[in-house]
Amino acid sequence: MAFVLHVPQAPEDQGSREPSPCEESEESELHFSFHQLIQEQSRGPGEDRLELPPRAPGPGAAGAAASHHQALQAPEPAAHSPATLRILASMPSRTIGRSRGAIISQFYNRTVRLRRRDSRPALRGLGRSARPSLRLYDLELDATALAEEEKRVLLVKELQGLPLAQRGHMLRGMPLSLAEKRCLREETRAPRRSRGRPGPLACCSRLRYACALALHDLGLALLAGLQALAPWHYALKRIGGQFGSSVLSYFLFLKTLLAFNVLLLLPLLAFLVGVQTAFPPAPRGPRPAFTGLELLTGGGCFTDTVMYYGHYSNGTLNQPCAGPPDGGQCAPEAASLPYNMPLAYLFTTGTAFFITCLTLVYSMSHSFGESYRVGSTLGAHAITVFCSWDHKVTQKWASRLQHDNIRTQLKELLAEWQLQGGRQSLCGRLRRAALLALVWLLCLGITLGCTVAVYTFSEHLIESPVRADREAALLALPLVVCLLNLGAPYLFRGLAALERHDSPVLEVYVAVCRNLILKMVTLGILCYHWLGRRVATLQGQCWEDFVGQELYRLTVLDFLFALLDTLCGELGWRLISERLGRGKPEFDIARNVLELIHGQTLAWLGVLFSPLLPAVQMVKLLLLFYVKKTSLLANCQAPRRPWLASHMSTVFISLLCFPSFLGAAIFLCYAVWQVKPSSLCGPFRGLDSMYEAGKVWVRRLERAGPRVSWLPWVHRYLVENTFPVYLLSALLLAIIYLNIQVVKGQREVISLLKEQISNEGEDKIFLINKLHSVCERKERSGAGRTQEVAVPPAGPADHREA
């Protein structure tokens, strides 16, 4: 069916050029909808700033016909004339979010969909255009749709049906001005008169409404109060404003670690430290005097305190007294709850670890879900050009730095695309692969060397034990470990300068990987040294105390070396760089984050042997925050290599979960299940393993009676049996496989939909071209007709609305 869209020549004396469709009778009904849409768009210039302003006098303003000619002369079909652009812009799918009427109708449809989840709305209240089949669509398909006012009434009605919190969220999320939102809110707040049943019922509902509002406001006030109390709120905003999101993610990670330590410390304080302090056991020996060295070595007068495992008693505290020793009366408070310390120790440590595990896995999956998208490639996205400007930055010099960063980033993007286009010779690829393998071998060699050094030094220490009065020599092993951890990353960085990676992000990830391998292997050797060798050599003494003290020493020295690193690495480097005329040093995010992860691993390793170690770690983190913040503001600048902040927090949490927490959990399980506790000290003396305490308790429960028989049954068949473990692993694998298949299916659906959209786009271009050609033919035939009619050349020309 042939139809015409006639774009007439606007009269010359009018200011604005408004194309309007032709008035031919047989075609008028066909494109009446276009006419109405265009009229709607061009109505009321001062009424709504959201509507498209009339197209400013630009290249096509010389008249619709001239612009039309321009479109015809344009070689490619994609160069649309302004008239076409106007029509395209007023197409239903484009007007979403552009005009107030469209916004209101879009939100009306959204609220309908929201309410439909709870209950089907009554049909009699809805207008005729909101037919059930159309409710799913966001498009204004019916051209003779309701006027804006009616839609608004419908929206108000729908909003009244939503629960309070959802209504508030819906109102906040509308892209309208505050005055309009206030009107909507006023209207939705007006009590419904349609269901008017005066009397106690109305009072009840009003009371309930008032209560709900009051609770909601109270909740808001509490939230506001909590936010104000949040530590370092202003400091973090200042750092984000000066250095951007990537440096901010380091400090946010520090805050997260602090939260994890609080979570770990609270059960320990409540169930172990508090109780043991209330019922102190008999001291094991004379308490030595306090010298300053205890703060470093953790020994001396700290030994027989709640800080270490050895202090905790192995019996039941607060037992009901079986006859007072001096013949007097039992105090009535003594007949309260007995507290089995070994059991409490085991369960509290286990539960604290379990809670930490759950929180870690949850935050990791949450972070992963926010930063990963199905279908997004690992390579650089050009669309990051929209996200690369960090609007938080407020300082002029920081924004200048951002401009430079973006320039570098864009140049690297271009280089990467060119590289992907070009092909490399086989020789070049082989050479790069060989270089890569060499550098990796060297790095692994350095790691091996460090490991061997630590191992031989620890064996040497075992051979020549430290005398009791030379406690400072105990610091030797932690010192060696910290020195190696400080020096090896610089070697790695030097070696990495040899290889050349395509993408800078890969470089950083490779550096992080290498440093992480070094740190984890070193810690593994130390764990073997403690559990494998020290236990054997310290048979007559309290080896758990020793291990706890070693971990304390490592934590403290780690902190001191971090301070040293900050002082020399950042302050010293800045002084040198300024002398040489180069800029301030960069804040090395990767190295700092790995230091944090290393410190947290130490805290997790030591929790079993030193319940107060998380408190030490918390103090360390607090001090580190202020030190790093001061150093950052004084000495450093933001890194030149732009990191994707969202990916970074995911990577940090994943690194915290997988090598770090998993290793600590394995260490803990091995210590609880396999190692014989010392017979002199601690809550598990005399048992074969720490886990025995639990087994003893279960056996006691079995003998207690049939009422609690399910617990021993659970213990025997689900915990000690290996079959449930296999079942759980199989279930987990099945879930993972199903998720992978779902993601694959989603990818296929996405590619099909993309194809469909591009087909629709081609259809649209085809239709527009067809319209143009038909218009042109009409013009030519119209021009021909005017030439025939205008016979007398001197006579007045007929101004026909052609």
Binding site: I96, R172, L414, I757
Partner: protein, 185 residues
């Protein structure tokens, strides 16, 4: 600069602003303070207006290369009332929902206001991001071609709102970077 009539904000107004925007109570009050300092004397804060120059000179927007577009999108008739400033702060706040941010980001990046982000808009965005006018043509055309190749789904050489929304949903950094803290300015 003189100061407005020092009317304390009524409790009901504060409640209302909290319910209608994503800002917290402290943020609203600090924006109120800043507004009072800047507005002309003799008017209450509800009637006073600020010019776009004054808003562009705020510390939060001073260094932003898109500040003229931001002012244009959020102002009415080129002036800012107090509620306009609140609306702007709400869209840029941390708690704002993604759909609202994407909506306004599209309007800000649409330089020629024709309802699409076309090649001309993209080139202007890149020039603003690099803050210089002497950028090679190759870089500009390459970049715009790549952006359109990745995000233009119906091949009309322009990004419509839906395509922009789809692309921003794929870029998880968008929420992080499209934030401005107007408090304490």
């Amino acid at each position: 600069m003189g100061q407005c009539l020092r009317y304390q904000m009524h409790w009901e107004d504060l409640e209302e602003y909290q319910a209608l925007t994503f800002l917290t109570r402290n943020e609203i009050l600090s924006i109120h303070d800043t507004f009072l300092k800047l507005c002309p004397p003799g008017k209450s804060y509800k009637e006073a207006t600020l010019t776009t120059d004054q808003v562009s000179a705020l510390p939060a927007l001073r260094a932003n290369p898109f500040r003229d577009r931001i002012c244009r999108v959020f102002s009415h008739n080129n002036v800012f009332s107090f509620e306009d400033v609140l609306g702007m702060a709400s869209v840029f706040s941390e708690q704002a929902c993604p759909s609202l941010k994407i909506e306004y980001a599209f309007r800000i990046y649409d330089f020629n206001e024709n309802g699409f982000i076309d090649e001309e808009d993209l080139q202007r965005i890149v020039l603003r991001l690099l803050n210089s006018d002497d950028v090679s043509e190759d870089l500009l055309t390459d970049l715009t071609t790549h952006v359109l190749n990745e995000s233009d789904l119906d091949n009309d050489n322009m990004l419509s709102f839906s395509e922009f929304e789809h692309a921003m949903n794929k870029a998880p950094d968008f929420m992080n970077s499209f934030q401005i803290h107007f408090w304490g300015c």
